[in-house]
């Protein structure tokens, strides 16, 4: 029987062989490794495997159950399509970073203990930042550093939480957490990757500045591993559920204000993650299934949206809605697939978002007050409006200046396959239900009230857009987010460090240096200390300058270092001899 290995290792090891290949061979190698991971996943058996003892703890690299398998399958499938999309990319370093990123994400998914989870978590953070830096622009470099600092902060919180958890429970096993200090720190660590508000700022800051293919990878893994870990450890947490509703609304409001197409989609990641964690926070079987189903669907249409916007930027060199328009006829495949993704994310009937959003809303109605349902419905309206805005101003608004052609075949194939998957799940949701964590849950997506309700919501919201299009028109601006406070606080901290605190440091250093210089001066001739003390006492009675001169003069006249070297040397020699003989006596005895 063939024993499968943790898929994380295949990607991580595979990354180091990428530089050995060139041209077509490299493209085939990248696809082959992905295909190998898919085969490996199909061989993984449920249960705990690949356990390694470390410092008395069990490190578990393959904790396989329905939840981890569902996430891993979608990661591997989307990863394969993202690699297919990025075959034009010639940057070996970026491809290595993408492999390490994919591998470590799968590592997080299959980790059965917090220590190995933390290690993969950090590899994810450090590998993914290269997908931003490889754009090789100053803005990307700066955004990459901000991304890294935020993730290092999250990693520190996670590690603190893990250490507190080990101290209090003695266990490293990844399991549902109860309210305690350790769970608070772990929640901040997981929450930063999940882009919980106000820890979300790295996402709309960094994702739009990644490379064209890098942003596609970024949109797949970081937030989704965060959601996965919340599902593992914080399922049924009311704070998470309410935070989900807040995120859903916050994301769409800020998305509607954006001019950069990838920034608009980045804010929608926050909004969509809100739906996922609302379901997970509800914590019922339907809620967790809904959250995970929405995660899977979101991976499909969000990746597709990043591919479509990446294609637009790749072919036109423009990313602002104010500079785009009229691309529907010039890039028909990109336009149609973008429309499919837009309908999917909006939750239109016939597309995958319709199914999973319905599940989340149904689960919220089971447990929570109407407030959360209203937030999620409100977010649905905003999502629909955002994507009318994105599609309209990118593809249908008149723009005579822009000339573009369709993207290469491999990019088109990747987009078409994902679009078809969105429609397939929308039309036949049982395909999705089969892989969800709770197989027993019975949910019917296409009830007449759900179907009619969504049509009403979209048609009336769409009419408002048509009649008030000017309000939703893009503008050449940036919108300040919470990161404004972070940046201003850090600027203030930098000023405090470089100004007053640095001045204080210099003063303390000078006074200490004076004391040290004086001690050095005294230590050169310690035998004269009583005599000096007497002379200092004399200062009180005599002129200070003349006293100093007299001390200096005496020092020059009297001090001779060699006078003290000889007795010290004799003393050290005697000590060594004593130790030597003591050693001989000790061992002979």
């Amino acid at each position: 029987m063939i024993r499968s290995i943790p898929p994380a290792f295949i990607f991580i090891l595979g990354a180091f062989f990428i530089p050995l290949f060139r041209g077509r061979a490299k493209q085939l190698y990248l696809l082959f490794v992905n295909a190998f991971v898919l085969i490996d996943l199909s061989l993984l058996e449920a249960g705990t495997g690949w356990v390694i003892q470390f410092l008395g703890y069990d490190l578990i690299f393959a904790e396989v159950d329905r939840l981890s398998l569902a996430i891993a399958y979608i990661f591997a499938v989307i990863g394969f399509l993202a690699i297919l999309y990025s075959l034009q990319n010639k940057q070996t370093g970026e491809q290595m970073a993408a492999f390490l990123y994919m591998g470590s994400s799968l590592g997080v998914v299959f980790s059965g203990d917090y220590l190995s989870l933390f290690i993969f978590w950090e590899i994810m953070a450090f590998a993914s930042v290269f997908l931003i830096w490889y754009r090789r622009e100053k803005a990307s470099l700066d955004a990459g550093f901000r991304y890294l600092f935020m993730h290092i902060f999250g990693g520190c919180c996670l590690l603190t939480g893990i250490l507190l958890h080990i101290t209090s429970t003695g266990s490293l096993k990844v399991e549902p957490l109860t309210n305690s200090w350790s769970s608070l720190f772990i929640l901040v660590g997981f929450g930063l990757n999940t882009a919980l508000i106000p820890l979300h700022t790295w996402l709309p800051d960094a994702y739009p500045l990644g490379t064209i293919t890098g942003s596609v990878f970024l949109s797949i893994f970081t937030t989704k591993t965060g959601v996965y870990t919340l599902a593992r450890c914080f399922s049924g947490n009311e704070f998470i559920a309410i935070m989900g509703g807040v995120m859903a609304v916050y994301g769409v409001v800020f998305a509607l204000l954006q001019n950069d197409i990838r920034k608009l989609i980045s804010y929608h990641i926050i909004s969509q993650v809100g739906y996922m964690i609302a379901g997970i926070g509800v914590g019922t079987e339907l809620g967790v299934n809904g959250g995970v189903a929405h995660l899977i669907n979101n991976l499909l249409y969000k990746t597709l949206l990043f591919m479509c916007t990446g294609s637009v930027i790749y072919m036109t060199g423009r990313s602002k809605l104010t500079e785009l328009g009229g691309l529907a006829k010039q890039m028909p495949v990109t336009c149609i697939t973008c429309l499919v993704a837009s309908f999917s994310i909006s939750g239109a009937p016939g597309f995958n978002g319709f199914v999973s959003k319905g599940m989340v809303l149904a689960s919220v109605l089971e447990v929570h007050p109407p407030f959360l349902e209203l937030l999620l419905r409100f977010a649905s309206v905003g999502t629909f409006l955002s994507f009318i805005k994105l599609s309209y101003f990118t593809f249908f608004e008149k723009n005579e200046k822009i000339r573009a052609k369709e993207v290469p075949w491999n990019m088109q194939v990747a987009m078409i396959v994902i679009a078809l998957l969105c429609i397939l799940i929308g039309m036949a949701p049982k395909v999705l239900f089969h892989i969800l964590p709770y197989a027993s849950v019975d949910y019917h997506a296409y009830t007449s009230s759900h179907f009619i309700g969504v049509l009403q919501l979209f048609s009336f919201a769409g009419l408002v857009f048509v009649f008030a299009k000017k309000t939703f028109s893009p503008h050449q601006w940036i919108i300040l987010d919470v990161d404004y406070f972070y940046r201003m606080t850090l600027r203030w901290v930098a000023w405090l460090c470089m100004g007053p605190l640095n001045d204080l440091r210099r003063r303390i250093q000078n006074s200490l240096s004076r004391s040290v210089r004086f001690l050095i001066y005294l230590s050169k001739d310690p035998l004269s200390l009583p005599e000096r003390s007497a002379e200092y006492r004399q200062w009180n009675r005599e002129d200070e300058v003349s006293a100093l001169e007299s001390i200096g003069g005496k020092k020059e006249r009297r001090y001779n270092e060699n006078i003290y070297r000889k007795p010290m040397g004799v003393g050290v020699l005697l000590a060594i001899l004593f130790l030597f003989f003591y050693g001989i006596i000790y061992f002979l005895k």
Binding site: G453, F460, W477, I478, I479, L480
Partner: protein
């Protein structure tokens, strides 16, 4: 294009509102779920609230693109 889109949306709006009255309903979890055109109301009010919200936020939060530079 814009006119066609407008006509299509008006058609959908009318059809979906009528369908709301004649279609079958799931057992209502909350009071307002029994109103046949409730989602239409949420759609309109939601879009209007969003319009006001983004207008207000844009007034306070919009800055030039080189603001942080």
């Amino acid at each position: 294009m814009k006119e066609k889109l407008k006509k299509l949306l008006i058609l959908f709006a009318i059809l979906s509102t009528v369908a709301g009255f004649i279609g079958t309903h799931d057992p209502p979890a909350l009071g307002w779920h029994s109103i046949p055109f409730m989602d239409a109301v949420v759609g309109v009010i939601g879009a209007l609230v969003l319009m006001v919200l983004i207008k207000g936020l844009a007034t306070f939060l919009s800055k030039k693109e080189d603001f942080y530079d």
